[in-house]
């Protein structure tokens, strides 16, 4: 038997595929670039720091910033606004996303292909570009105003952009694909015989939709809602561009504190609250999905 070189034996050991070794470099990088930074962020939220030329020169334990933030009415309105916006966005995305997933379920191969292209292409396009499209549509000389004036419905351009409505419309459209994809994934895993059986037993299509398809798509709805909420709760592109710079949500607040006013302790506290509230809502979503899934099992019986 020939002795194989050490290097090859080492490679074999690595590729044996049973050990943790291949993952070690990734684990090290994740710990250094994600786990430790989160620890640092937490520690900064609980301390007083002095920053000089982009370097933290001193750090002292203090709850000052956290308590100030929690008592600040600006924080209350900002976080309430962000939560409402993100929850409304999630609601409208499920309202529009579910029908698309249903169409995917009942549609032929071409309908399916079109739906996939229209949902995946936006994900591959920059959020700024997609938000910009809404400036073109909703702006003073935009598509909506030009069309309304053309038909003589209004004489002056409506002020749509830089309002709450513009932000909401943009939010829903931009996060819609993130809701559709998990729904489609869950629905295409259904056993289609369930629906056929339901139809054979004389159920109408609406009844089949309500008693079979809707309950079975609860997990997809849960995943989609969690993704849409996380993204819309923490985005600043849409509020910044469609809200005209004076629409402050939690994410824009973090951005302004960290990048513009360089109040890093405040920024760390805001980021912490953002993360904590986001996690809390996601837990509620997970709980609701769990209840919904139990309901599904009852429906399947």
């Amino acid at each position: 038997m020939t002795r194989r070189p050490l290097l090859l034996r080492l490679v074999d050991e690595l590729l044996s595929g049973r050990g943790i070794w291949p993952a070690v470099p990734a684990i090290v990088v994740l710990v250094v670039v994600a786990v430790i930074p989160f620890g640092v962020l937490l520690s900064l939220g609980f301390s007083d720091i002095v920053v000089s030329r982009g370097v933290i020169v001193s750090q002292e334990l203090s709850l000052r910033h956290l308590t100030t933030a929690l008592a600040d009415p600006l924080y209350h309105t900002t976080f309430r606004r962000s939560l409402t916006l993100a929850l409304t966005t999630t609601f409208f995305c499920s309202l529009l996303g579910f029908p698309v997933a249903y169409l995917f379920l009942i549609g032929g191969p071409w309908v399916r292909r079109i739906i996939l292209v229209l949902t995946i292409a936006p994900i591959l396009t920059s959020g700024i570009v997609r938000t910009y499209a809404w400036i073109v549509i909703l702006g003073g000389r935009g598509v909506v105003n030009a069309t309304l004036m053309e038909f003589g419905l209004i004489s002056q351009p409506l002020r749509i952009i830089n309002t709450h409505w513009a932000v909401l419309i943009g939010m829903v459209q931009i996060h819609l694909p993130i809701m559709i994809l998990p729904l489609i994934a869950v629905m295409s895993r259904h056993d289609s015989r369930l629906e056929e059986a339901s139809a054979n037993l004389g159920a109408s299509r609406l009844a089949t939709l309500r008693t079979i398809i809707l309950p079975l798509s609860v997990p997809g709805l849960g995943t989609g809602a969690a993704l849409v909420f996380t993204l819309s709760y923490t985005t600043f592109v849409v509020p910044q561009l469609l809200g005209g710079g004076n629409y402050l949500n939690a994410a824009t607040m973090v951005y302004e504190q960290v990048v513009y006013s360089l109040e890093w302790s405040k920024g760390a506290v805001t980021a912490m609250i953002l993360m904590a509230t986001c996690l809390a809502v996601l837990l509620v979503f997970a709980w609701l999905t769990h209840i919904g899934t139990r309901w599904t099992r009852v429906a399947q019986r």
């Binding site: 074999d12 050990g19 684990i27 933290i56 459209q173 819609l176 109408s204 960290v258 980021a271």
Partner: protein, 271 residues
């Protein structure tokens, strides 16, 4: 002939309403992109609907603006770094997660996915602050490394999904025929994984080019990437130039979509 009674009518109306909602949603996804592309050909110096002429000048201008071209190069570089890192770190991790029988294999596969579920701005701020603690300022490297950590999950998930579908008999046959594990990996496993790696690479590259949430806190001040420049010009200008830049991005997205449908197929993306 079938008689249409009340219940049937309600059924038709209900389903019709749902399909109408679906069509509305699909139109909502498509139209904004179409309108941006249409407006990018307008001859006037400001955005005003409907367009009055046709010109390609804005596209020429995009590629004549050193700021934009530099930003594009920076972002392409970031995209390539991110993709390279995600392949180098993510593919072995997927192998360990899918094949490993060590304790904590499941925990590991969850751990790898966590950074992608954390809000991008929180990761960005956290990395910026930790860097500041160590005296490491924002730069193209800090940006690339933090983005890699952020999107590595996509690569791991895509490759893992493929690994779980691979027929283990193929690798066993290779081993039985006397191939070393390295030969088996190189000749059997790797080629079979290639479509998944390519699909993952498309997504990590796009994220490297387009991401704003992590980028905005970690990018270098000298190497300003495209999303940062885009945000600035969208905020400060009303010319079809922005529409032209946007159209270029939309066309790139369509190319990426083609690449995906040719590698793993559109219907597999969702896994």
């Amino acid at each position: 002939m079938k008689r249409i009674d009340g219940a049937d009518l309600i059924d038709r109306l209900g389903i019709g309403f749902i399909i109408a909602l679906a069509v509305l949603a699909l139109a909502l996804l498509l139209l904004p992109a179409v309108i941006v592309v249409v407006m990018s050909f307008d001859t006037r110096g400001y955005i005003s609907f409907p367009p009055v002429g046709f010109t390609l000048d804005w596209y020429v201008k995009v590629f004549n603006q050193p700021v934009l071209v530099d930003a594009m190069w920076t972002s392409i570089k970031v995209g390539l770094y991110v993709t390279a890192l995600c392949i180098a770190l993510g593919v072995p991790t997927a192998l360990a997660c899918a094949r490993g029988d060590f304790r904590g294999a499941t925990a590991l596969s969850v751990f790898v996915l966590v950074p992608h579920m954390v809000p991008g701005i929180v990761l960005g701020v956290a990395v910026l602050f930790s860097g500041a603690l160590l005296g490491i300022g924002p730069s193209i490297w800090l940006q690339s490394v933090s983005l890699s950590v952020y999107v590595m999950a996509v690569m791991v998930r895509t490759v893992m999904a493929r690994l779980q579908r691979l027929d283990p008999l193929l690798e066993q046959a290779s081993a039985n025929l006397g191939a070393s594990r390295w030969q088996t990996f190189r000749i059997i496993t790797l080629p079979l994984l290639l479509p998944a790696i390519l699909a993952g690479a498309v997504f990590t590259f796009i994220e490297g080019v387009d991401n704003l949430s992590v980028t905005i806190f970690t990018h270098g001040y000298r190497d300003r990437p495209l999303p940062i420049e885009l945000l600035a010009i969208v905020q400060n200008s009303n010319s079809p130039l922005v529409a032209a830049v946007s159209s270029v991005q939309i066309m790139l997205a369509v190319l990426a979509l083609l690449a995906i449908s040719l590698t793993i197929g559109l219907d597999r993306v969702n896994e």
